[in-house]
Symmetry: C2
Subunit: 224 residues, 2 copies
DNA sequence: CGATAAGTGGAGAGCCCCATCCACTTGGCC
DNA sequence: GGCCAAGTGGATGGGGCTCTCCACTTATCG
């Protein structure tokens, strides 16, 4: 390993200990209170001064990035597992379930992930790999005929954002909600009974604004 | 009409004009910037002082409530329309589509609605009526055999929260995303191909936390 | 065992937010 | 036209947040 084994390399022993404690505490607090827990609270729980915290992580965003770096890696490895599965559809479902569970269990990761996914922060390389891996997984799953052909690449982001939306209240409730939502969506992603879908791209807003859900419904019928 | 025609009754002419302008401006700002637009910004856009704003609406929450009161009423009437539809399943789908469109088009309403739905603010009466109406609609839709029997009452909240999650970026993109999500979910709500679902209730968290998506998957297979 | 650079803590600057107070203005009735 | 309650605006308080500054402490090495 020619590169540093850790970002905390070259630190004095006590400093390194403090840094580790900060990250650990931040992970916990972000997980069950979300990303908007104050820096002061993190410092207090880690039993260090605020200055120490800011010396290691010049900005809150840098702390968030550090804290969730391994989660992003975990996501990539989840994808690798899924790609290794001989049954692409099962791999597809499993990958989605795992990632959504990760979101449900960690409030902070949930929002950080969704925020970082479209316009990544600086982990762009990991992100691109994940996106491409998922594209491949999608392709294979479609090839088996189990995943509906009109499943769009962007539907992953759609699912992740939707999943993020149901992460509220207690962790138990969030997990249960996420489980159920994912089950519904995976069932909708299956090829059988695939009715017509609206396009994944944007559409013209004015049409809708001018008839805001109070008309007598000229919309197409989603039934059968 | 024995009751006041409006909450702004008995106000001096100029005051009433100001009040109306405040509500109008707040509606617009909330719609496309979300609920966290500052009170000062609303006052500025309405060309009144902050004191005037606070005289009419002692707290920000009261302003939000006033601004979205008619939207909540619109939701109730959407439900009434749905109940009047001779085809309960079509009514069910239409109601969900309409409400989700309302959310997608109005950022502020989207969050206000989700926030107010479980632990309502003060519009509890409307809310209860809506909940009961939806329960009836659900019952009828199930009776036709089109809506899956294990659809839970809480799945509506699940859908609304999920829909709220995809409301990001531009209004056009939000609407497109919402459309697609709702189409997917409605398709999953159909009775055919209804695979097993996780329970709508909460579950024990420890099991999951102890095997956080890195195990070799002992979970049940959602495929066929 | 000291010298020294690395590390530390807490006060506080700067900013944004909700909400209040009070001296001033103005619409509406006689 | 004049009176006065109703209405108004801007300064201000109070709180929370991110991030900075600086005098003090401590690990580490010859």
């Amino acid at each position: 390993m020619p590169t540093v084994p850790d970002a905390a390399a070259g630190l004095r022993a006590d400093a390194r200990q403090n840094r580790d404690r900060i990250v650990e505490v931040a992970r916990e607090l972000f997980a069950d209170r979300g990303l908007d827990v104050p820096m002061a609270a993190i410092a207090r729980h880690a039993q260090v001064g605020i200055a120490t915290l800011y010396r290691r992580f010049p900005t809150k965003e840098s702390l968030v990035t550090e804290v969730f770096a391994d989660r992003f890696e975990a996501c990539v490895s989840v994808l690798d597992d899924a790609l290794a599965d001989p049954d692409p559809w099962r791999g597809f479902c499993t990958a989605i379930e795992k990632v959504c569970t990760m979101q449900a269990v960690d409030r902070g990761f949930s929002t950080a992930f969704v925020a970082a996914f479209p316009g990544a922060v600086d982990i762009e390389q990991e992100r691109d790999r994940a996106v491409q891996g998922f594209a491949e997984l999608t392709r294979r799953a479609k090839a088996t005929g189990r995943l509906r052909a009109d499943f769009a690449q962007d539907d992953l982001a759609l699912l992740l954002k939707a999943n993020c939306g149901v992460i509220t209240e207690s962790a138990e409730a969030a997990l249960a909600a996420s489980r159920r939502l994912v089950a519904y969506l995976l069932s909708a992603f299956r090829a059988e009974q695939a009715g017509p879908l609206p396009p994944p791209a944007a559409l013209d807003l004015h049409d809708v604004l001018n008839s805001p859900a109070s008309t007598t419904r000229p919309a197409p019928d989603p039934a059968t």
